[in-house]
Symmetry: D2
Subunit: 332 residues, 4 copies
């Protein structure tokens, strides 16, 4: 039984608490948050104790740390927890600052304990099946990847302002997903982005609609499309053309009911947002983390993966600002 | 070039006129109708002459007769045209009266000229592909067939009253289609039907919603479902379970546009009615008829097929009225 | 916290044990089985004790009994548990013998404790959504219902021999589902069935492919299609035509990946069998049972519902054997 | 009746001949080709005469000229036919050389006769419906357009060498389609392309896989994806995100048959290539051209549209070669 300390008891922290508590091989031992109220509530719900983050990290009754605090604290907690010999699962992104993230990667490079970054989409069973089919050679060589990722509605402007921008906050999921699907990093990255959904997002210096094009060493191409708004719900699709066919991971609808009437043939909307769409992926992610600990095997998403995705977000941001294509190696 | 005389210039006759005139190997030579106006109009449109039905049948400049007159005249015209040595394509049904239809079949049994019945659905490319896949053994042995056939809206009550009833007028298409798909006739037929769409149909002694179950010699089963009304358009589907899989012929939609919005994921409606849905089938039917003439090969839908479908309609009518299963051999 | 005693620790019992144990408001207190080994194993897994069925029923530490034993014991256990004042969830069918089931219904008719029958499909979220749309009047009046229910593969012949036959064992789910969807019982039932999948099933006196047609008081019609084999997995669909449209609950596929290659456009198969397909329904069923207890509300599937479904299975069996339509009121 | 002279009797010319001949309001009067054999054959088939291109252009019995010759002759023929006062339908592209195309546009700017460019996809009923829904405001404001256009197989290398490259030869259809859908021209264009399908295409100086990203004045974005090979057939899709939803025009499959077996749920492939996929669009294009003549209305695709699409192809080519985003106004 892995005893887990959870840092951060907000929305994502609470989601992870449920995964931790409902898994047969883990228990939620302690929680910490700068907000006492949410910490106490979650502790009570799962029979955990409340400690400070530092107490949890140094608590010898705790085997693993789940970091779900605000992004600016991730690097520090990773370094401390690694030094304390804990297994670590840290929410994405590693940091908003690429230099800091790379510094963190350097510092913990010698750590023997598992350090995993929480890119949950790799664990979505549909995306995982697509990846498996690709690796099986079912459509031959990879040629042209498209990831569509639209949120149902934009976050509050207050969130946008501290998010690090669409590329670091939202598209970072898709950068990691592209690395997972393609099995390699791109060499160049071009981005165009604009504020079409809400002018306030533009005023805050961010974009809400963006397209990134990436080229790989042998000429393969990937396109990522992001929007902060889709009136029909959370649009999460992958499509990849190969030399022998096409693979698509389609949206998961709310239910399988189809109504035909004078308006047409009407299916349900896609599941609304990540809590509904990726609940299974979060659980599978946690299970994979526990398996890495138990089997002494490498974690499926490394800190290096987390830094790579962040560098891609940085490259996209620079490309958008300069109108030029950015070579990824200049950032890694 | 096959020179064609068309008997009947109503809706179906006009449809056939277009197929005849646009085919490279046939020309519309003469038309006939009890309504001078529609006859003259169609003749003018295609450069044909107007004659009486008897004149057309005896016209030595005419090779083939297309019978699209009212059903009660079909048997007479078939007999006359067969005696005159013409190739014949007669619209369904052969007759409303099974005894008369069988008499007609007997009388023309020695005819050497092609006599074909117009069950156009056999020529729908989707249904034909389903049949081909079955014959190729793609799903193993046939086990359970379901035909869904819903009209978009009921016909006028005046039509219902002289139609011979839903089984002879509408489901007769599906009886023939089941014979085509299964490759054999059923041994027993059970029907339930009610007037749910329009009470006036019930008052007229007919039903508008019906289910027929048929059993074959070796235990295979077929179900036909009919309704005179589908608020979403013309619903025309086939589904058959075999020992190694399932084949379905799905509806053809008006277009391929899909709209996703707050109401769901919305596709277009099925094509509205038989003119839109089966326009290609009518043309393919005519082409098959011409090919039979040119290649001196048996027609793909024989008069015997037409009588068999009528007998099945008769059996269904009797089953509905008696609440008992009817043995088809008692009627054939 | 509802303390539950589980009678029967076979496949279905184990499935329920998981629902009981993982629900926040119930705990698995005791288990019983004629097979000590499975009972001990399940007890160990969930920290329950092993007792005899009678001990469990009389155990004052137990609030609710889940009956998942062999069908011939259901009526006895229901009567005993009801007499002991326990809340009861009994797996389907209530009994193979309609007279015995009706006797049981009579005996417990005065019981104040909740007695629920385990027709899990009512709790499938897709079917529940279809029912909700119907009740909302989204397609107007119900007219023609079709339930398709094909198992992926037939059970062992040993199972077939004691199952009570396809209608009582398999189609009983669909009889209950039709009652749920239509909101009323049919007045007449006709069945045809044959042994097409495996001749040994026929030798054992059962059928493996069957179609049942049911008519309701006002002329509405329902069709149920069953097969013991579908080479592509578990086929579980509902389709209902109404005066203003059509509702369909489609299959749930194993994943959302679509592969396009030289063979066509290929989606995943339906989820393999009921464990995969209805896992959520079993959990929702348990939750509904607990809610009935807590809220002192009627259970959503009553013992009377269970008897009605059994009577319909009996009617179908009689119809198949006699070739006649059976009036349901003769059996209820 | 519009009397038509056809210049060019190759594959596309023959296709147009069929549209011309089968339309009630046009007749194929004369044909011309540098290859006598194909010209004679087509003339015989439709009862047309064979003349030289110059004879046709000056033939007072001819009302309209359809230019389907090799691209390098288009500008000359347009200028001559315009000078002769003929109505003109010219196949795409106007020219491979943008300067020459603009010169042609200048020269004929005063012409009163209709001059239309053959971008047939605007006339595909599915794309036209998508455009109509957009113009109706069904998904609010346009935000992010994606056009997917994959050929089933690459053309011969000999063709590639004289084609002007993927952007001018193939993607030019999608550039025009994007202008049609968006209702305006982009301001900047970025392209990446590589030779992944066939190294010989790269050796010939061309690409076979390309992605173009375009930005519009108010920040809207469009992505065009092209590949010369799709193992599953001709992939022709449009998808556009708007402020209130998403519109997609999906592929048209060869038939509506779906097979479910142990391999999955298998639909037919998309229609193989443009002859199968756009046969209706070619006919609708011709009909629209005739309507413009009859109704003295502007043609739906102007020569200016043709020059704009060519300028976009030129910009994409420059962007690919330089790695920079190109401003379209520099080329127009």
């Amino acid at each position: 039984m892995i005893r887990v300390g959870l840092l951060g008891t907000g929305r994502i922290g609470s989601l992870h608490a449920e995964s931790i508590a409902s898994h047969r091989e883990s228990t939620l031992t302690a929680v910490s948050d700068i907000n006492d109220e949410t910490a106490n509530k979650l502790a009570a719900q799962y029979g955990a104790i409340v400690e400070s983050a530092d107490e949890i990290i140094s608590d010898t009754n705790i085997d693993a740390i789940l970091i779900a605090t605000s992004t600016d604290t991730h690097s520090d907690f990773i370094e401390k927890a690694a030094a304390a010999g804990k297994a670590i699962l840290c929410e994405k992104p590693v940091d908003l600052n690429l230099i800091r993230a790379k510094e963190c990667l350097d510092k913990v490079s010698a750590a023997k304990n598992p350090i995993m970054v929480g890119f949950n989409r790799r664990f979505d069973p549909n995306f995982a099946q697509l990846k498996k089919s690709l690796d099986n050679g079912e459509i031959g060589n990879r040629e042209l990847l498209t990831i569509t990722s639209f949120d149902p509605a934009p976050p509050p402007i207050s969130y946008v302002k501290t998010s690090g921008g669409l590329y670091r906050d939202m598209m970072i999921h898709d950068f990691d997903l592209s690395n997972f699907i393609m099995g390699e990093l791109p060499i160049s990255i071009s981005a165009v982005g604009h504020s079409l959904v809400d002018p306030a997002i533009g005023v805050a210096g961010d974009v809400d609609t963006a397209v990134v094009t990436m080229v790989y060493a042998d000429g393969k191409i990937a396109v990522i499309k992001n929007s902060r708004r889709a009136a029909y719900g959370y649009d999460q699709r992958i499509e990849i053309l190969g030399s022998e066919g096409l693979l698509q991971a389609e949206n998961i609808l709310e239910n399988s009911v189809v109504k035909s009437n004078n308006d047409g043939v009407i299916s349900a909307k896609p599941k609304y947002f990540f809590l509904e769409r990726y609940i299974g992926a979060f659980k599978a992610e946690w299970d994979a983390f526990l398996k890495s600990i138990h089997n002494h095997k490498p974690v499926p998403v490394t800190l290096k993966d987390g830094v790579a995705a962040l560098a891609m977000a940085e490259a996209a941001t620079q490309s958008q600002n300069t109108g030029k294509s950015i070579q990824l190696k200049e950032l890694l």
